[in-house]
């Protein structure tokens, strides 16, 4: 029974990873940028929600109404002010730029908030620990379920948005070929800025859930970036539902690893990442290109 519980918890944890990864994957899909500040921006979102919840009596969920647009603005400004310029300079410069942003964000947060770990759990009442208890060691936490549901909604919403709306189609066209998109009247600069805004807002949402389900500190960002990246790679870059699957595989592997060793949680996650990577290499070595949805065969 303990295994069933662990696997179920792992699946739900995968929902959080998918939520975290969806912005990273989206930004890569549209602009071909891997945003190394993604994790730190998630923590920034968590900190903003924390300040509101701590200073006023406003619930963190209500605080999101203010924080998500603010995060979107941050993403928009980051794209317009920095990344847009870096995109013209090849592949190296966006990486260096976002790494620089990551260093600035996490250290500025440390300067503001200090080394203390914080959590939003005290501000969401009994949601933090309520659960459906089926037997003594088989239960489903409300919060974990909520996060999973939000992840599915966000991924599904993004899917519909890209497929059914004019802006979504413009984003896909720009992702395919920005120059040709310009020819048919799409403003690719505005599209990029919109995509960055969506990605960073979703990072802020994921960060808020991170803060609700556990503790965080200003330097929590890099590990979140790594989790998000692992989920994306395991699921296959460019596929939104693949990201959910990748998150679930990562979460299950971590929860099973934790049963063997206190450090097994992290080790098993990283090992799973390399196992999937090795599998991909093997398959792409054997099969003809294009048959397999593989990050390794994809052109940057």
């Amino acid at each position: 029974m303990i295994w069933v519980t662990q696997i179920l918890q792992g699946v739900l944890l995968g929902g959080y990873y998918a939520l975290l990864a969806c912005g990273l994957s989206f930004m890569f899909g549209v602009m071909r940028i891997i945003n190394l500040a993604h994790g730190d921006l998630a923590v920034l979102g968590a900190c903003l929600v924390f300040v509101i919840a701590d200073q006023t009596d406003i619930s963190p969920f209500v605080a999101l109404i203010a924080v998500l647009p603010a995060m979107a603005l941050v993403g928009w400004a980051m794209q317009r002010g920095m990344l847009e310029r870096s995109l013209r300079a090849g592949m190296l410069v966006p990486l260096l730029t976002t790494f620089g942003i990551a260093v600035v964000v996490e250290n500025a947060l440390f300067e503001q908030f200090g080394a203390d770990t914080r959590s939003l759990a005290p501000y969401i009442g009994s949601l933090a620990f309520d659960s459906w208890t089926i037997t003594d060691d088989f239960y489903v936490g409300y919060l974990a379920l909520l996060i999973f549901a939000v992840a599915v909604l966000l991924l599904g919403g993004l899917h519909l948005f890209l497929g059914r709306t004019a802006l979504g189609r413009a984003i896909r066209a720009t992702a395919e070929d920005p120059d040709t998109a310009e020819l048919v009247g799409i403003n690719s600069r505005a599209i990029y800025a919109a995509a960055a805004a969506i990605a960073v807002a979703s990072a802020g949402l994921a960060g808020t859930f991170l803060a609700m389900r556990e503790t965080f500190d200003p330097y929590a960002g890099p590990l979140q970036l790594i989790f998000a990246f692992e989920a994306v790679v395991i699921g296959g870059i460019g596929s939104l539902w693949g990201t959910l699957l990748g998150g679930i595989v990562l979460g299950v592997a971590q929860n099973i690893g934790a049963q063997f060793n206190p450090r097994g949680f992290l080790i098993a996650g990283h090992v799973m990442f390399f196992v999937v990577l090795a599998g991909r290499l093997l398959i792409s070595g054997l099969a003809a290109r294009g048959g397999i949805r593989s990050i390794l065969g994809q052109r940057a």
Binding site: L92, L95, G100, I101, V103, A278
Partner: protein
Amino acid sequence: MSGPDAVTVQRWTTASVISTIAIATLAVALAFGPLVLGPNAVDKLTTLFIYLMLAVMWNALAGYAGLVSVGQQAFFGIGAYFAIQLSYHGVSVYPALVLGAVAAAVVALPVSLFMLRLKGGEFAIGMWVVAELSHLLVNLDDLVRGETGTSLIALNEYGPDARRDINYWMALGAVSVLLLLVFVLLRSRLGASVQAIRDDEDAAAAVGVRVVAGKRIIFVLAAFGCALAGTLWLATFITFQPKTYFSVQWTAYMIFMALVGGLGTFEGPILGGALFFLIENQFGESGVWYLVGLGLIAVVFALFIPRGIWGSIEDRFGIRLLPVGYRLRLKDAPAGSATLQPP
């Protein structure tokens, strides 16, 4: 124009002959450092040499082979860990420092099989995962005692003064050898081929460059260099706390030094390393704002001065102190007026 005879390809210029001799002389002169300098200065210079090693290695990776790694701290830590293991198992302590770095390079070989198949940002974070995983695995070793860490106890057989001088000489020797290796590599066929890979991998492959082999040599060299820097850091500070050695901070420093000095130039990371050393001595005590400042400077350089300080000087004045490239010279024109510049 007067036909192909009007053009000669030059490797050495007067300026580069003079500066190469000057740099070699400087290296020899520095070898006498411990005889004339105070203990504090010797310690500081040792730290500078270690920074230079890191800067030169990261530049070789990113500036020449186009591989942006955010996980070079993996090798910094693995090297130090292997040195401790070797010394614990009876290898004499100073040889253990070099062998530890060699062992890290051996580990880098299978790692390269995975990582070099990843492109751009995927390689960057993939290396970060490598660093995280090595950190966790090193922590599993009882010898290290988790985050409490351990020390290179065997160094106690040397007195503090002898230790300081040996560390200095080893660091000076290591940075000289690494610079020489990069110099020789860049002048070889490999130098031209990795730069072709960096500029356009598909085009390079199309003209017959062996893409993966070229990248692999640089990758393993950089792993060795960063690991050697790690073992020398261990010799200087004796204690080994995994958290410190596997910190992403090291890569942040490497990026800063290579980027500010001039990515893809031979002289740039040396300049960047020296600048970083001065900045750290001046502001290192001021804590976190100092790191915010470093990050901001890195962003500004990446966006507005991507060729760094030395790259900008090179572009403007056509100076190249060390002859790692070729110069195209028109017979009728004065020297330096028509040189081939990278884009």
